[in-house]
Symmetry: C2
Subunit: 442 residues, 2 copies
């Protein structure tokens, strides 16, 4: 405090969203909602706070340490959710009778982790998950890939690839290598391949006695198979021949890629990638990652997979499912870097300049007519000098300014100024809505 | 714990949102966003957690007691926000240079209060606020009323009334009664009028020595003035004549109602109501409440007002503003009670029945064509008996089911079933999207 003033500041690792960050964020979330809904996923929400026993031990010791956990006024041991998967498990177990299965839900909400703040890592961030629960059918796995594809298309991406693999295929291969008992450790290590490289993976596997050098090399032989989906499948068939698990995984993938091809999905955008493992232990079937061709270095922006049992800690009823999570913040950063955010930052494209104090009704009337025509319009709230209002329009990113003074009112016309080109034209009162709208939509 | 199972439960005063509650909630928030944006308000967001010193003492002792407050891993004294106004004040002070003024923002986000849980009161709920900051111009007050009006129209309400009053008018009258020094206490008591009635207000004012019986009666004389806006204004003019403050308030209201009339706003939906005081101390100008004509008992569903200084605790720069807050939960309950929620609860209107396992590609293809035509379509994920899938469709609230078996595939047709009427018609593969879409939109 200085002079009785409290310093206005956010907590370390937390951040405010100003309009220019929040507008594309809201657009992205709205697109995700529309795509999810169009496939029949329903929205749900759960509390930010849960009993600690619901959240503890679900993400490992690291995750427990990162919990914002405290005792509430009623003496309850409570904590803020650190992801949306554990709350989904609790939610589904609690409301199973009401929900029924199959149950398809999406959930877009903030989560909290007391991580060491660093570039691109925050203590509060949004997750954006969708899942199909209560079915083991591969049709749901196929659909999950289609949802991711549609999502990126709807967001305006052309150059991306959804990388798909199957845990049963990997496990079958590990069985054949005599590594069945080490599968979890192997896959967790393989998951680092794209971050740390081949040498480091082999080094770690042998150092940690997860696999022999020969076994590690065999794993990387499989992971490095590349080519079009059909030829990768053929190569995999040869490697996993005779393994029941491996053949099951290959069969699921063959169906998925066959159907995607029949549906006209670009094969470059949906690729069989035997190197994809996903680190999380609970995946048991199909696994997904999504890379942006123009920014591969940022890693996967949409990942997920199939699991055998979502909520075993809360209910005895087995709940298999499949789903994925969109990396909202990473994707927004990427879209910014790729210049995909529109320059327009004003929420409404038209500024109605407030020039003559006694004409407020006319300005308000025009703004109302514009909005009735589906064109967002803001009235500057004070009759200030026109230059100041145009400076405001420029700073806020408006597309159009509409102006009238005594002369214009006398003649029943408006000046419509295109703020991108700075050109003004004079139009009649009858034509002003259509003309401002045409410029706004350019 | 029993059998190693953790009981799936939410904390007292917290709740899950199932799809049938969440779908109308998302629709309402989306409508609010669209209306706010169309008037030029920008979205912002702030962290759920703030330094406790930012939040403490801002809502009085009661509000401090209700804070979810704790010490974080870094030893910081932190708390979860209890409203969106204090974070807005902190936010605006912190980013003032970047934001500039006038600054119009909306903020739709959850807040937390450890209140005693009771019917309709929860410890986590959403607020949905919009404000214009940095101007004393009455044009912003007029616009605030127009936003509320447009919001309720866009939500589908016909019968509602926005009640407007002005603190300067009330203060002017209180001055004339010799109550200038007690204005805060008087208005806080008057704010209870619609809850506790005339007698109780007079009783409280005299008991608490806020006003004499005669003064209290005079206050209620003013508050009980009714009629069309022009006649109420005329009656008020007489009562506040000679008071500078009173005449300023009356002038602002006269401009507001005159402009609203010129803009064609139904006078029944925007009414001058001298009984509206709002309890909060920081209002200094126009005040707003919104009543639903068919459910007046639930109280105001959208309230707000003008204030002289938003962020005096965090910056020396005075920041006047005006805004209001939509009572999201109360309004959703009201819409449910008034039967305004659509019966349709499925996020996508069409269920594509999965009948023949080897025809998955055809079913996926149809679902894809429907979505490409703008019609949400869900594929049942397993080839289960048709009766079970139709039961699912019914429970989830789908509008249309599309079905094909061997016979239909042989003849290139689909059965399109209207789930509201249970009628089925057979249409060609070319016509199925248009037909299913027509029923879905009914």
């Amino acid at each position: 405090m200085t002079d009785g003033i409290i310093k206005p500041q956010t907590l370390r690792g937390f951040r405010d969203y100003l309009p220019e960050a929040m507008l594309p964020r809201e657009r992205l979330m709205e697109t995700a909602r529309q795509v999810y809904r169009s496939f029949g996923y329903s929205p749900i929400d759960t509390p930010a706070l849960e009993y600690s026993e619901i959240l503890l031990g679900k993400g490992g010791a690291e995750s427990d340490k990162q919990l914002f956990r405290f005792t509430d006024q009623g003496g309850r041991d409570v904590a803020m959710r650190f992801d949306l998967t554990v709350p989904l498990a609790r939610f589904t177990a609690q409301h199973l009778t009401e929900l029924g299965t199959p149950f398809k839900r999406y959930h877009i909400a903030p989560v909290w982790r007391a991580e060491r703040p660093q570039r691109g890592r925050f203590r509060e961030f949004y997750q954006c998950d969708f899942d199909t629960i209560g079915t083991t059918s591969n049709a749901a796995d196929v659909e999950t890939a289609l949802v991711i594809h549609e999502l990126f298309r709807a967001l305006g991406f052309e150059r991306f690839s959804i990388r798909v693999n199957h845990r049963a295929l990997l496990n079958g291969y590990l069985e054949k290598l005599g590594l069945a008992d080490n599968a979890t450790a192997v896959l967790r290590c393989l998951d680092k391949l794209h971050k740390i490289g081949t040498e480091a993976v082999i080094e770690e596997m042998t150092r940690e006695k997860i696999a022999t050098a020969g076994q590690a090399q065999s794993i990387l032989d499989l992971a490095s198979i590349q080519g079009d989906n059909d030829s990768v499948l053929a190569a995999l068939d040869a490697l996993i021949a005779g393994s029941e698990s491996g053949e099951h995984g290959a069969g699921c993938l063959r169906e998925l890629f066959g159907l995607a091809k029949a549906l006209g999905i670009d094969a470059g955008r949906l690729r069989l990638d035997p190197s994809i493992a996903r680190g999380l232990d609970y995946y048991t079937g199909t696994v997904y990652e999504t890379l942006l061709d123009d920014l591969p270095g940022i890693g996967s922006v949409c990942s997920g997979g199939r699991y055998d049992n979502l909520a075993g800690l809360y209910t005895k009823q087995p709940l298999p499912g499949v789903g994925a999570s969109l990396g909202l913040d990473r994707l927004l950063d990427a879209m910014g870097e790729l210049g995909m955010h529109t320059k327009r930052t004003a929420p409404a494209p038209v500024l109605v300049v407030f020039f003559l104090a006694d004409r407020l009704g006319d300005y308000l009337g025009l703004a109302q007519r514009l909005r009735a025509g589906g064109i967002g319009a803001e009235l500057y709230p004070e009759p200030k000098p026109i230059g100041r209002q145009l400076k405001y329009a420029d700073r806020r990113g408006f597309r159009v300014a509409v102006i009238a003074g005594d002369d214009e009112f006398a003649r029943g016309v408006w000046q419509v100024k295109d703020l991108a080109t700075a050109e003004s034209i004079e139009v009649s009162d009858e034509a002003v809505v259509a003309r401002a709208g045409a410029i706004a939509e350019r």
